[in-house]
């Protein structure tokens, strides 16, 4: 959900001594009203902590681990599994890798992974680390209803504390979920530089193809839903608009 405002205030006087709220907002780009509201409400969002950390040259993961709610972030497993790394690769890159491999040259120019941010990153990550009943266990551990968890994942997000708890339950790198939600970058999480590319290259041809098939299946369903929505919307507006 968030970190307590009191801990945030203690932390920021250490991380950014002498800086007022206005200075903080100027350096991070957060709106003054937003920061003010969060402090007044007593709950500061993780996104705010990360942005302040980045603005003052601190690693966001270390910054978050200064807070009670995320104290085990640094101590826990940090190395992402191959499945996690692959879950962050978009289907475009997977297809590009297939094309690359199907050509008889041995050119070294592998697909440019950075250019294609992955809209379903958190859902793929969740499925990659899920031993089978992660949703139920996460719901039991945090008290969030399973349908709320599913709804968040479908919308392409997951609350940070849920992402960390899910990683804890699945026994994988605690920062993996935070990378997948986009809260921190893979570099900040200490993921190996070409980790995703290496994981992709390590796949056999058949594994690569089946991975592509699974991904395309998911994308196809998404697109079909979207097209269906657009069609219904058009019909409605044509008749009553």
């Amino acid at each position: 959900m968030a970190v307590s405002a009191r801990s945030f205030q203690n932390w920021r006087t250490a991380a950014a001594p002498g800086e007022s709220n206005a200075d903080l907002c100027r350096r991070t780009g957060i709106k003054r009203s937003t920061l003010g509201q969060q402090i007044v409400r007593g709950k500061v969002s993780e996104d705010t902590v990360v942005r302040v950390a980045r603005a003052y040259g601190k690693n966001p993961v270390e910054a978050l681990s200064d807070f009670e709610e995320y104290s085990d972030l640094l101590g826990g497993p940090w190395r992402p599994s191959a499945a996690e790394l692959l879950s962050q690769v978009s289907y475009i890159c997977i297809l590009q890798m297939i094309l690359h491999r199907s050509q008889p040259t041995d050119r070294q120019d592998y697909p440019d992974l950075v250019r294609f941010p992955h809209a379903n990153a958190i859902r793929s990550w969740f499925e990659a680390v899920d031993p089978g009943d992660l949703r139920q266990r996460l719901s039991a551990a945090t008290g969030v209803a399973p349908q709320n968890i599913s709804a968040q994942l479908l919308a392409g997000r997951l609350a940070p504390e849920l992402a960390v708890e899910a990683a804890r339950l699945a026994g994988v790198s605690l920062t993996g979920g935070l990378v997948a939600t986009g809260l921190i970058t893979s570099d900040e999480a200490g993921w190996p530089q070409d980790g995703q590319l290496a994981a992709l290259r390590a796949l056999s041809d058949s594994e690569l193809v089946f991975l592509a098939r699974d991904r395309l299946d998911g994308v196809g369903k998404q697109i079909r839903k979207f097209e269906h929505d657009q069609e219904n919307e058009l019909l409605l507006l044509e008749n009553l608009g």
């Binding site: 409605l236 044509e238 009553l240 608009g241």
Partner: protein, 245 residues
């Protein structure tokens, strides 16, 4: 100006303005039927105002023919909106009940009976709302019919309208417009049954029908606004949505 007249004037302005706004669009071919429906509605509401009614009725012979005009204008409005809404919300059941064999039978019977009851009544003098003749049985039945047909159409569409409003992925204007439409439809049904309650509803018995009509009209305005704005937005191919954050 008392409360009842205020409701009427508000409803009339909303209906008139939305009809006027739709005129240039209708000329260009965009949904002319909705424009005509709003014209019928504006006519009906205008004739509901006593001074207008008396003036128009005297031209028509002073025998309350203007009231019959109100009735059929409202039937026309409700029919058009009903057919269009059933198509818009993909409500096959409602479409069958409104324009299928059942719907046509209901419409025909209502139209015929409306005229029959009107003729059976004895109303030699112009009277807005037929208030002076309320004790005559044909007039009473005529009044019941007048509310029953719109309520019938409305009842078929309440669920589809609210289902559209509840749809999470739809644009806000569509959800609001559908919701207001739904509220107006509920109002229409309430109006048909409000005389059965033991409460004394005068002059608030004007509030329900006029606010229902206003809600429906504003709902249509919102939907029209959404159509205008979505024409201007460029459409991305669906595939670009899947990896653009």
């Amino acid at each position: 100006m008392n409360a009842a007249l205020a409701f009427q004037v508000v409803a009339l302005s909303v209906a008139g303005i939305s009809a006027a706004v739709r005129l240039p669009l209708a000329i260009k071919g965009r949904n002319p039927l909705i424009f005509w429906a709003l014209v019928l509605l504006t006519t009906a509401i205008a004739l509901g105002i006593s001074s207008v009614y008396l003036a128009v009725d005297s031209v028509l012979g002073g025998m309350n023919l203007a009231n019959l005009v109100i009735r059929f204008a409202l039937y026309g409005f409700v029919l058009i909106i009903g057919i269009k809404s059933a198509a818009a919300f993909r409500a096959a059941g409602a479409a069958a009940l409104i324009r299928g064999p059942i719907g046509i039978c209901v419409l025909a019977s209502v139209a015929v009976l409306t005229v029959v009851f009107f003729c059976l009544a004895d109303m030699p003098v112009s009277s807005p709302g037929l208030r002076d003749y309320g004790e005559q049985l044909p007039v009473g039945l005529y009044g019941i019919l007048a509310r029953a047909y719109p309520a019938y159409i409305a009842a078929c569409l309440i669920a589809p309208a609210f289902a559209s409003a509840a749809h999470r992925r739809r644009p806000l204007l569509i959800r609001l417009g559908s919701g207001l439409l739904g509220i107006g439809l509920v109002g229409s049904v309430l109006y048909a049954i409000q005389d059965l309650t033991p409460l004394d509803v005068d002059p608030w018995d004007h509030f329900v029908p006029y606010s229902a009509l206003t809600a429906v009209t504003v709902g249509l305005v919102l939907l029209g606004a959404q159509r205008t704005t979505s024409k201007r937005k460029t459409k991305n191919a669906p595939l670009t949505h899947t990896f653009a954050r």
